[in-house]
Amino acid sequence: MLKKVVPLIETVDLQKSYFSGDLETPVLHGIDFVIQEGEFVSIMGPSGSGKSTLMHILGFLDTPTSGSYLFRGEKTRVLEDDALARIRATRVSFVFQAFNLLPRTTVLENVILPLLYHPTIPASEREERAMKAIAEVGLTERTTYLTNQLSGGQQQRVAIARALVTEPDIIFADEPTGNLDSASGLQVMNVLQELHDHQGSTIVLVTHEKATAEYAARIIQLLDGRISSDSRDFKRKDAKTNTDLK
């Protein structure tokens, strides 16, 4: 008999509404899906489809209005502020469209940043871990550069190193190529694909572009707060050989 594998992420009828005064604006109308460990999934949809809200809930930046979100089989709705912060420090990482690096600060300091808030990694290991993460994105020679001295593509790779440094269970990348030209975007997608293919990292890529979404192995499409399709039935693009990223 096969042992049942507990999925990394499982949502059941996940709903989210925003309230302003008496006015309720529903954004997510019941989302059900499962993401297994080691998957590379794109969540795709036009703006207003609820994909960012979904990512925030999955990334413990926000909580759902109703329904349940199970992380490694555990219900997460009732967590306190500090507990959410602890999960963000240890379990999940983000890569943002605007990079969100600290200004006028070195690459190394930026990559070390999440370790300052990590509850278990000792201070003595920080630099070694950060150097390893920087090496994985190919920026070892830029370690002491200030972030504003780097190109957009390099900055996003610093952000990816920062996401890797805590060895999280899952990385959320929110439009990571949105502010980049196609060559830099391709480099960033290449780094993400290699992380997935060689390190087995679980990655959720949020994008509104089909062309970008296709670098993942699975595309969940959102429309008006509902899943409109969930497909593995396409040819995955390879960032190493493909040059059509727009």
Binding site: L61, R88, N100, P103, Y117
Partner: protein, 404 residues
């Protein structure tokens, strides 16, 4: 998050915004600097004035009617017999009676209103007044009630300019006096009034004014002035038939007091002045504090993204709160130290200038004021940093990240 990391994060944030950090500190630097400067300058002046008074007033005792300093008090209580009795006390060295002539002093077309003392030679010894030219009043002047005058340096200059005053005849009221002596200047800018009086023989003043009572008397104590004051007090109470075993000053019709006691009053006045200046400087520190809050609030808005990012990578509310609070307290403490250094340096500079102008001037650094200013600076950071820090800590990470 470890304390070290809080300090590190705060330090790197401050380093990344040097201009803003410097501007934030400026208010505190000015505030603390002015508190230190004001209080120190006030204290230094107080010390200077007290030193000046002490230089001529050690074991000097003055006895005057209560009406001299209190409205409704007796003005006619000290008689010539009282004076002679005081003179015989073993604790009294040299005593001089004084009767004031309250009339204008003129020479030609020049008219002045200096104090005119009718007194004896002891007066000059008691106050340490020295002669510049001519002679002092002597016993013969008094026994003969002669029409001679000794004038102070400022009055000599005002009446005669560059001419030699000796032998000239000045007029006080209707009577003419021959100038026989000119005094040296005291040389103290605080006590300039002491360079203006005109002195005539006591007996002459008595005859001119018709006064039976003394305006006051001045004497040097033998040894400790407290004993002398006690002797005089019991002698005069006995002579004036004042039964006052409870030592109630209000019952007496005279006051015997050492000049050192008078300096305590001066001390209190200048202390009040120092406190007032300190208060004004303290207000500037408060303004500095509000400046900090202002800049920190702007900084929270400006750093919304950074705060959001820190939260996204796992910072708790308390981590953000501590970092921002630490930044504020660090800035105000550093500002406090710089302010103390600048305030002290400026105080030393002003003292050096004052020393050039006044002859001698000692800079008194108020350690209490330093300590208080430093505490106030740190308190300012804590109080005015708290609200912006709370605001930063309560930002939602999502809104913070989305913010552009």
């Amino acid at each position: 998050m470890l304390l070290n990391d809080t300090i590190g994060s705060a330090a790197s944030a401050l380093r990344a915004h040097k201009m803003r950090s410097a501007l934030t500190m400026l208010g505190v630097i000015i505030g603390v600097g002015s508190v230190v400067l004001m209080v120190s300058v006030g204290k230094s002046f107080q010390r200077y004035i007290l030193d000046q008074i002490a230089s001529f007033s050690s074991n000097l005792v003055e006895v005057y009617p209560t009406g001299f300093e209190k409205f409704g008090g007796s003005t006619d209580s000290l008689t010539e017999d009282d004076f002679r009795a005081v003179e015989k006390l073993t604790t009294v060295q040299t005593v001089a009676p004084v009767i004031f002539i309250t009339e204008k002093t003129t020479y030609g077309s020049e008219e002045l209103s200096p104090w005119v003392f009718g007194t004896t030679k002891n007066f000059f010894a008691n106050y340490g007044l020295k002669l510049q030219a001519g002679r002092l009043l002597d016993d013969r002047d008094n026994s003969a009630a002669s029409s001679v005058a000794v004038i102070s340096s400022q009055t000599a200059e005002d009446l005669f300019g560059n001419r030699d005053p000796l032998g000239q005849r000045i007029q006080v009221g209707k009577k003419f006096y021959t100038v026989v002596g000119v005094l040296q200047s005291i040389g103290s800018p605080v006590l300039q009034d002491m360079d203006t009086p005109v002195y005539v023989p006591y007996s002459t003043a008595r005859a001119v004014t018709g006064q039976k009572y003394l305006s006051y008397m001045t004497l040097r104590a033998v040894g400790d002035y407290e004993l002398t004051v006690a002797d005089i007090t019991s002698l005069l109470r006995q002579r004036h038939s004042i039964h006052n075993p409870e030592n109630d000053k209000d019952k007496d019709d005279f006051v015997a007091r050492s000049a050192e006691q008078a300096t305590e009053i001066v001390g209190q006045v200048t202390l009040g002045l120092t406190a007032f200046m300190g208060l004004i400087a303290g207000i500037s520190l408060l303004v500095g504090g509000i400046g900090i809050m202002n800049i920190m609030l702007v900084s929270v808005t400006e750093r919304t993204k950074e705060i959001g990012l820190r939260k996204a990578v796992g910072a708790r509310r308390s981590d953000i709160l501590r970092q921002f609070l630490f930044e504020a307290v660090f800035l105000t403490s550093l500002g406090g130290v710089i302010g103390i250094l600048l305030g002290t340096a400026l105080g030393l500079f002003l003292s050096a200038v004052a020393a050039k102008l006044l002859g001698s001037f000692t800079f008194v650094l108020s350690v209490k004021a330093l300590f208080a200013a430093m505490m106030m600076a740190m308190g300012t950071g804590l109080v005015f940093g708290l609200y912006p820090a709370k605001k930063a800590a309560s930002l939602s990470p999502m809104e913070a990240i989305r913010w552009d």
